[in-house]
Structures are given as structure tokens and as C-alpha cells.
């Protein structure tokens, strides 16, 4: 019997092959970025000029950001909606997750099943009644409505519950003997202990809310409430022929998220792999 040593030469060859494939895989992004730096006349030159012949970076991004379409405002709207959704969603999910994991109340299992059951429902199946309801409640065409829609998350409840389950009961029992209420235990012991879980969920929720296109499309009407995704799609519809500008807009829509993802990659990847979840 022989134990194979890791073949470092074949590993190097494999790394090079995979690196090559990765570059091919990323070509659409590279093309997007390089086009956003070009002058309009060079966009479709062939062979493709990955490095622009004539640079037009500043002008392109300037016309996107200070043109008729208020990108700064869309950005602000997206930041506002994504942050507030993430915050309220964490709070509501963490409360429910704590109860499902650590409070022994009557009907708990049934309630948990009920919550889980709503998870499978495809959003579009209930879009029409949601829309009608929103008009009745006066939540249509408002950021508040958009935030509320993303705030009650089965996924968040489920994920954070997993984290609470791994907290030892002794912590909670001993705090209870000392006379602490569940509210105090939740805020002073529970939340700090599941900080990694909250970080993971927060990043995922932020990314999903930022990238959401369907809800803003249906529940917003006023131009000045638009989020980045909605803004960029309208922008692309209108400036269909100005490819450099559309690409500059697309880069602007993707970049902040990419940065957050790269900073929080460990959380994101572990969160996705651990829960096997999909937004």
C-alpha cells in the first residue's frame, strides 16, 4: 500500500487550467468594465480591444452620474432601503429565532412549521393580492412598503435559529435563576453570542435587497423613489444605443456589492453553504 504525496507539479498545471477557465468565465464582466472606459466608436471594434485604445473613463461615468437620470438619488434610495430592510429583518428574525430555539412555549412546533411553510411560496404567485393589499394599506409607491416586504424573513428566522440552537442552555438557565427575563437574556446574552450568524445574514440580506428588481418594479411608481436596479434598467431602455454609458451604469450597479462580497466572502460563502439557501 502506498500513500500518494500531493502531486505539486500536476497541481500547478491544474491551477493554470482552472485560472484560464476563470478568465473565460469572467469575460462578460471584463468586457463590461473595459467598455465602460471606452469611447462609443470603439465599442464594437474587432478583434476586441480589452484595453481601450482611447480612454474616456471620466466622461462616461460623469454623464451617467450627472445626466438626466439621478443615479446619486437611486444610490441613496438603494442604500436606505437595503440598510433599513436588513436592520428590521435582523431584529424581527432574531426575536422569532430566539423564541423558536430557546423559549419553551405551547404550540411552538406548529408555529415553526407554519413559518417554514411560507418559505416555499414563489413570490410571484402572490404578487397580485400583495399589490391590491398595498394599495389599500397606502403602502404602494413608498419605501416603507418596500422595506416591510423584505423585513419578515423565513430564511432569517431559520438561519438565526440554527445559531441560537448552538448556544448552550446553561447560559440561559443560569441567567434565569439570577432573575433575568427573556428580554434581558435575549439582548444581553443571546444577541452577542450569535454575532457571526447575524453578520452572515446581514450581508446576505443586504445583497439580496440591493439586487432586488421585481419588488421595486411592482411596488414603486415615482421616479424619485427608484432603486439602482430599477433606475439602471430604465436608463438602459432609454439610452439603448449608448453602450459605454449603459456599461458604466452597470458597473456602478454591481461594484458596491462586489466590494461588500469580497470583504465578507467568508461569511457569504459559509452562510450559503451551511444553510444551502437561495434568495
Amino acid at each position: 500500500m502506498q500513500i500518494k504525496a500531493p502531486h505539486s507539479f500536476s497541481k500547478m498545471i491544474m491551477t493554470m487550467i482552472i485560472a484560464l477557465l476563470s478568465i473565460i468565465f469572467m469575460l462578460p464582466f471584463i468586457w463590461m468594465l473595459s467598455t465602460s472606459f471606452k469611447i462609443e466608436a470603439d465599442v464594437f471594434n474587432y478583434p476586441i480591444q480589452w484595453i481601450p485604445q482611447e480612454w474616456n473613463v471620466f466622461e462616461n461615468y460623469k454623464s451617467v452620474w450627472s445626466g438626466d437620470y439621478p443615479f446619486a438619488l437611486y444610490y441613496w434610495n438603494s442604500i436606505k432601503v437595503s440598510l433599513l430592510t436588513t436592520l428590521t429583518s435582523i431584529l424581527a428574525s432574531a426575536c422569532a429565532a430566539y423564541a423558536f430555539a430557546k423559549i419553551n412555549f405551547k404550540g411552538r412546533d406548529f408555529m415553526f412549521l407554519l413559518v417554514l411553510a411560507t418559505f416555499m411560496v414563489p413570490g410571484q404567485a402572490i404578487l397580485v393580492p400583495q399589490f391590491v393589499l398595498y394599495r389599500w394599506l397606502g403602502l404602494f409607491d413608498s419605501h416603507l412598503g418596500l422595506i416591510l416586504l423584505g423585513s419578515f424573513s423565513v430564511l432569517g428566522t431559520f438561519m438565526l435559529r440554527q445559531f441560537f440552537l448552538s448556544v448552550h442552555n446553561e447560559f440561559i438557565e443560569s441567567a434565569k435563576i439570577d432573575g433575568a427575563s427573556h428580554f434581558r437574556i435575549f439582548f444581553s446574552i443571546g444577541l452577542p453570542l450569535i454575532r457571526p450568524g447575524i453578520a452572515t445574514y446581514a450581508i446576505l440580506r443586504f445583497i439580496w435587497t440591493w439586487n432586488d428588481y421585481q419588488n421595486p418594479l411592482i411596488f414603486l411608481r415615482s421616479n424619485d423613489l427608484f432603486t439602482v436596479q430599477l433606475g439602471i434598467s430604465k436608463f438602459a431602455d432609454e439610452f439603448g444605443q449608448y453602450y459605454t454609458l449603459i456599461m458604466a451604469g452597470s458597473v456602478s450597479a454591481i461594484l458596491p456589492l462586489l466590494i461588500i462580497f469580497i470583504i465578507g466572502q467568508k461569511n457569504v460563502i459559509e452562510g450559503i453553504a451551511g444553510g444551502g439557501i437561495k434568495g
Binding site: M1, S10, K11, T15, I18, A19, F25, M26, P28, F29, W31, F44, Y46, I48, L91, S93, C95, A96, Y98, A99, I103, N104, F105, K106, G107, M111, V115, T118, M120, P122, Q124, A125, I126, L127, V128, P129, F131, L133, S151, F152, T157, H182, W210, N211, Y213, Q214, Q229, S233, A236, M247, S250, I254, L257, L258, F261, Q265, I269, I272, G276, K278
Partner: protein
């Protein structure tokens, strides 16, 4: 005794207080709309007209749906898009096996392949619209330069458009499948490979008879979530093609959106919503049963 009763009662009250926000939110924004979808699917209504205009028409919406050529087309397209799942499974599985053991900079590659999945679908769709441009898009310029004189016009062609959507979908999902597979690979006990080594198994045999069967729960999970997810694809279609050309890329959720918010047929759209709900329910039940039966190692 009375004290412990009081404590239990207090515990229950506290429990409900903690789940109250989520429960209330889910009830108002999800459970009530689900019930409303079921009710509205038996009616003819335009939501602008007001509640008193709701007309109960029994099963008419459903009989009409199954004679509706666009609905049938969108169902068909949904089925075509399902092809993306086995393709993604195979690519991601191969990639996961290679990344897991046989390369350096594993984490960097994971991040690279995961990037499309966390990127804005709107931006992705806009980029691909230009890449697939029939006459001067880079894809066709490349094809023409290697001697294909009349490449397909992709998104502008009624046959090729849905397959273009499909391939973009594969590109977007590879990262997700990959991450889940790598997590699955790390859960396979090492002694299985050692035992296979003792039996003199080749690398291919180890992959075929250890890795793949041990990953079958992961594969099963990915297929089921993949099917459910495929039924939800909306953003990509809306931005990329708006269901066109000539409804060749319309899918159920897109047709539902179009019916409800462009043609303002609330009842008819709700009937589609109910069909969607029932389909997802059936898939979920298959998942619950299948988990025990089909997963083998």
C-alpha cells in the same frame, strides 16, 4: 403547582411576544395573499375597478388557461429552462472536485465563480444583451471570425432566444452549485478513500464509486431547489427579452406579471398564481418523500 402553571403561562406569552412581529408580518404579507390568490383565481376582476366588481366565474379561468397558447408556450419554456439544472450540476460537480483537492488558490477561484451569483441580474442581463447583439455583438463577431458566416441571432431569434436565456442562467448558477458541492465534499469521511486505496481503486473509480454516491443528497437538494428556483426566474427574462421575440422566452411568472400588471386581468393572473403554488407544493412533497427513497450510498 399553581406557581409552575403561572410560569408556563408566562413562558408561552413571552414566546408569542417574541414571534409576534414575524408572525404578524408573514400573515399580512404572505398568508393572507396566498388565501386571496386562491379565492381570486375563481373570479373575473380588474383590480382598478374596485371590490364590488369582482365576478365569480367558477373554473372558467382554468379551462381558458389550458387553451391559452401563450400560457402553454410559457409552460414549455419553463420546462426547457429545467435543462439548465443537469448542465449546471455536471459542470459544478467537476469543478468542485478539481477545486477541492487539485489546485492552489482554491478560495480565490471560489470567489470568482461565485461572483455572477451575487451580481445584479439587471446589470448581467444588460451586458448579455449587448454581447449577444446579432450583427456587431462580440459573440457573433467572434463566431464570424472563425468562419461561421451566419451565426444565430440569439436573443432576436425565436428558436435560439430561450437557449440563450438558459446558458446565461447556467453561468449565473454555477457558483451556487459549486459552493454547495464543495461543502458536501468536505463532509465525505476520509477513510472511505483510504479503503478504496487499499482495494486498489483508480482515481476515476474513487470518483465514480465513492464521491458521486456520497454526494447524492447534495445533488438531490440542488436539483429540487433548482427546479423551484427555475420557476421563479423573472428579472432575467424581464430585462433581457421581456418575453420576446414573439413570446418565445415568456415563462409562467413573466406571463403572470404581464397579465396582472399590463393587461390588468387580476382573476386570470391569480389562476396562474394558484397553478404555480400547486406545482411548487407538489415538488416540495416529492422532495420530502424522495429524500428518504432516492438518496443512496
Amino acid at each position: 403547582m399553581r406557581r409552575s402553571n403561572y410560569l408556563q403561562w408566562k413562558e408561552t406569552l413571552t414566546g408569542y411576544l417574541f414571534i409576534a412581529p414575524t408572525l404578524l408580518g408573514l400573515t399580512v404579507f404572505f398568508i393572507i395573499p396566498i388565501l386571496a390568490t386562491i379565492l381570486l383565481s375563481f373570479t373575473e376582476w380588474n383590480f382598478i375597478a374596485g371590490v364590488d366588481k369582482i365576478k365569480f366565474i367558477g373554473l372558467d379561468n382554468f379551462t381558458k388557461l389550458f387553451q391559452d397558447a401563450i400560457f402553454i408556450q410559457s409552460l414549455k419554456n419553463n420546462l426547457i429552462l429545467l435543462i439548465s439544472i443537469p448542465i449546471t450540476v455536471v459542470i459544478a460537480l467537476l469543478l468542485a472536485i478539481i477545486l477541492n483537492k487539485h489546485v492552489y488558490f482554491k478560495n480565490t477561484f471560489k470567489v470568482i465563480y461565485f461572483t455572477p451569483y451575487i451580481s445584479s441580474v439587471v446589470a448581467i442581463a444588460i451586458v448579455y444583451q449587448v454581447l449577444f447583439h446579432p450583427s456587431h455583438g462580440p459573440v457573433n463577431q467572434f463566431l464570424m471570425s472563425i468562419g461561421i458566416d451566419h451565426p444565430p441571432t440569439w436573443l432576436a431569434d425565436t428558436t435560439f432566444a430561450i437557449y440563450s436565456v438558459l446558458s446565461i442562467q447556467v453561468w449565473i448558477s454555477i457558483g451556487f452549485y459549486l459552493i454547495i458541492y464543495i461543502a458536501g465534499l468536505q463532509g465525505i469521511p476520509k477513510d472511505l478513500y483510504e479503503a478504496a486505496d487499499i482495494d486498489g481503486a483508480t482515481r476515476f473509480q474513487k470518483t465514480r464509486f465513492v464521491t458521486v454516491p456520497m454526494l447524492s443528497p447534495t445533488t438531490f437538494f440542488l436539483i429540487v431547489t433548482g427546479v423551484i428556483y427555475t420557476f421563479r426566474i423573472f428579472d432575467l427574462i424581464k430585462v433581457l427579452t421581456s418575453g420576446g421575440p414573439a413570446n418565445s422566452t415568456t415563462v409562467m411568472v413573466y406571463y403572470l406579471y404581464d397579465t396582472a400588471f399590463v393587461n390588468l386581468k387580476t382573476g386570470y393572473a391569480s389562476a396562474m398564481g394558484l397553478i404555480l403554488l400547486v406545482m411548487v407544493l407538489i415538488i416540495t412533497i416529492i422532495q420530502l418523500i424522495g429524500q428518504k427513497k432516492w438518496v443512496n450510498y
